[in-house]
Symmetry: C2
Subunit: 318 residues, 2 copies
């Protein structure tokens, strides 16, 4: 469920474009006016505003924003303005260039978007970077991470609800054998995680829990410092309970030493129109504090106002 | 270039559907009438005929054809009637069920179709088989074939003409090292073949030839009996010179002991609207005999008539 609030009567996109143009005019910039518009328009409406802006003023709205704004506020507004597939292609490309440190971002995009949305991201990647997403991921990653990441970004998973219980049982057994044998980059384990539908995987993990006494994630904690095992646990979480994965990502971004604004922005901006309501509920439950309260305590200025507008008011949700 | 001949004035699809309905009526079937219509309608027109037939008679044209025809003629007409993405999904699924013997068919579909067409095949696979193509390929193949086939069917290659010559040179070197070291299922070699654009691969193979004295395919002939090496050579051919790959497939289908009707039908039906003209030219050059002559000598009856109608008349081409 989304947290984005769009007013009942949205003005025509030409009017929004005009207001933005005025907000940029003269000395200084009317940041509040910018937030007031952008934080309350959905993806289709934001696209129309970009088009109306280009038609009326012959300028790319993104370029104008870059001139007027700065820092975390700029980054958040730019990401929000991009079309979702373009945005994910951008985030993936940025992560690829930062190499192994950012494998999680690529995995998150590959595992939490719908199959068709992932395909649209691959199309946007062609258009923006003149390469394929899997080509860059394969080239810039190595070892076990590559073995898992390339099929994850290349997947076009079946999305029906059908579950084959006999298969779930037999594949739970394969997973248990591999994990017990510390063969967590084994090709059978990777085949199962990267090709089966999410419904099928859910059944397989339930079988695992029922027959082997532990949740699969618990068995993958054998060595809590092993980076690949941590990555594998995050992958399983993204595939089965994305809201829990995102709750943890937000928690780490907010409660660490300093704030990880990149992670905070990424989760809020990519999820505000999708699943942020559920993520807020998870956050409240796990941290005994609302996400609104946590974000307000860790951010400031226009950046804070914008994130809070996307997260939604405290008394309204969770 | 296609060999399909469509008349200047194509009758409305309702009229074609009616003629087909009449061809099925009473005792016996008017096979010639069926060939006369089907062999001279393009994909969009065949689709309209299927729709018009369902609307007028409440029956699926494919089911009706199954009742009326048989053998190789039936198989050819059925495959031809399917929409291209559905047809490729069907051929891939059929090949998957026959396991390793048919890896070539899956590779051929993955490597010779455009990136977007391959995606449409993956969508059709979801719709027809309630699974993903890569899921079935990964489950039913093993070893080196699996390592190569899964990324081949999952690829969404970039299709621009841009070539990075420095990269081509460095990747030609990697390929040469792996092949010299007999590591032909090495993950770097597979990464290059399965993720780079066809234009980039072509440049890489040229660099290989220029710097290491042999065409890459020649170096992959070290052990001519090795099935995986043969598969790798066929993959490279499909990616760079599909008409040569298809010429050889036709040659083996026709000149072997008996005729391989499945391969013959598959190539003619899938290529008649795409590239069969170029394949015919290759065939003539390599065999000193036209494809029309070869097909006529190896087939008979309605099946022969239908294939020849798709291949085009002798004096017209090649």
């Amino acid at each position: 469920m989304a947290t984005l609030k769009v007013p009942a009567n949205v003005p025509p996109s030409e009017e929004d474009a005009e207001k933005l143009h005025k907000a940029f005019a003269g000395w200084g910039t009317d940041e509040e006016g910018i937030v007031g518009i952008f934080a309350h328009r959905n993806g289709a409406q934001r696209k129309l505003i970009r088009e109306a802006y280009a038609a009326a003023y012959g300028e790319d709205l993104l370029k104008e924003l870059e001139k007027e704004l700065s820092g975390d506020f700029l980054r958040a507004i730019l990401l929000w303005t991009l079309d979702p597939a373009e945005r994910d292609a951008y985030l993936a490309n940025e992560a690829i260039k930062k190499l192994t440190a950012s494998n999680l971002v690529i995995m998150e995009i590959a595992c939490t978007r719908s199959s068709y949305d992932l395909f649209k991201i691959r199309q946007a990647y062609h258009a923006c970077y003149k390469k394929s997403l899997e080509e860059d991921v394969a080239y810039y990653t190595t070892g076990d991470f590559r073995k898992l990441l390339v099929p994850l970004v290349s997947a076009f998973r079946y999305e029906g609800d059908e579950v084959d219980m006999i298969l779930a049982k037999s594949e739970a057994k394969i997973l248990h054998e591999k994990i017990s044998g510390k063969a967590c980059a084994d090709e059978e384990l990777i085949r199962i995680l990267t090709t089966r539908s999410k419904a099928q995987l859910n059944a397989t993990f339930n079988q695992y829990n029922d027959h082997f006494g532990n949740a699969i994630s618990k068995d993958l904690k054998a060595d809590p410092k092993d980076e690949y095992l941590r990555f594998l646990r995050a992958t399983i979480k993204c595939l089965t309970s994305p809201e829990k994965y995102y709750e943890k990502t937000l928690r780490l971004a907010i409660t660490g030493l300093g704030t990880d604004e990149w992670a905070l922005t990424r989760v809020v901006v990519t999820q505000a129109e999708v699943n942020l309501q559920r993520i807020k509920e998870e956050y409240h439950k796990r941290n005994s504090m609302t996400l609104v309260h946590a974000v307000a305590g860790d951010t400031s200025g226009d950046y804070e106002k914008f994130l809070l507008a996307l997260v939604g008011k405290e008394n309204e949700h969770a």
